[in-house]
């Protein structure tokens, strides 16, 4: 149960971080915060923030599958990435971010794959940094 709460906490933190990072980047790209944020109402921005948190929770909570070591690693990776991707696509659909034409849907699937790959990259990078730290300690023993 402690692990579940840890993952929820991590998911909420990552969602908030992603939302704030998006505000900074998108504002810079759009030519100013007022220009970018003026495109939506306060209510809509709250909804966007909630969607970011839900998407991050989808990826973080589903990573609990890695605790079940009786399953093959490939199966666990598949489960994690599928759940994360599906939560992303469903949230985007209900938030109205996905357009109705085929091109827009494909674009969103590509974005979902990109986010999945980025999430994966961060995970592997974190693990590599952790491994470097452990190796330094082993060498000094």
């Amino acid at each position: 149960m402690k692990k579940v709460f840890e993952k929820i906490e991590y998911g909420v933190a990552m969602g908030c971080f992603g939302f704030v990072a998006m505000l900074f980047i998108a504002s810079a790209v759009a030519g100013g915060a007022n220009v970018f944020m003026g495109q939506r109402t306060g209510e809509e921005w709250l909804q966007v923030a909630a969607c970011f948190i839900i998407i991050a929770l989808g990826y973080s909570v589903s990573s609990l599958i890695y605790e079940l070591e009786s399953f093959a690693i490939s199966l666990r990776v598949l489960f994690h990435m599928t759940i994360g991707g599906v939560v992303f696509l469903l949230t985007s659909y209900f938030a109205g971010w996905i357009g109705e034409n085929f091109g827009a849907v494909m674009m969103y699937i590509l974005i979902a794959l990109g986010i999945t790959a980025a999430f994966w990259g961060v995970l592997v990078l974190g693990l590599k940094m952790q491994a470097d730290k452990i190796n330094k300690k082993i060498d000094s023993k």
Binding site: Y66, E67, E69, I134, K137, I138, K141
Partner: protein, 146 residues
């Protein structure tokens, strides 16, 4: 069974040698009894019909493979009828569990490698490798002072 005790003043600790025509269940029980007594710090392992005596320092890794306990030394591997938890008790604090099925000698850690599966692969100085499960990674980090 005929038992004979020879007194030798130069021996610093008792040493038992069993002469037998074949390894019987009775002999296995005696070996097990001697091993479990407090005056010993060695383990016995099997290779085919032979029993070998190993010092804990000679053991690199103990792993359960296909329900058999396999003991890895520098270049050789042996099997044992003991359970992993028995090895854990017998070998003491110089060994650490890295997963449900593996015990490693902390003296022979070579490095860890991150894997794309999101776990760490532990490599020993003799080349033996196994994944460190998430449950046991904090113990290893604690041992290393991280």
């Amino acid at each position: 069974m005929r038992v004979e005790i020879k007194m030798q003043a130069e021996l610093s600790e008792p040493c038992a040698v069993i002469y037998a025509g074949e390894i019987t269940e009775e002999i296995r029980r005696i070996v097990s009894f001697i091993e479990n007594s407090n005056c010993t710090n060695f383990v016995t392992v099997n290779e085919e019909d032979r029993i070998y005596v190993l010092q804990p320092d000679e053991i690199y890794m103990v792993r359960v493979e296909n329900e058999k306990t396999i003991v890895y030394c520098e270049a050789q591997k042996y099997s044992s009828g003991r359970r992993l938890y028995e090895f854990e008790t017998l070998l003491g604090s110089s060994f650490m569990r890295i997963s449900k099925s593996t015990l490693v000698n902390l003296k022979y850690l070579a490095c860890v490698e991150p894997s794309f599966s999101g776990t760490m692969l532990l490599v020993l100085k003799n080349g033996c490798k196994d994944y460190i499960s998430r449950k046991y990674l904090p113990n290893l980090k604690k041992y290393l002072g991280i």
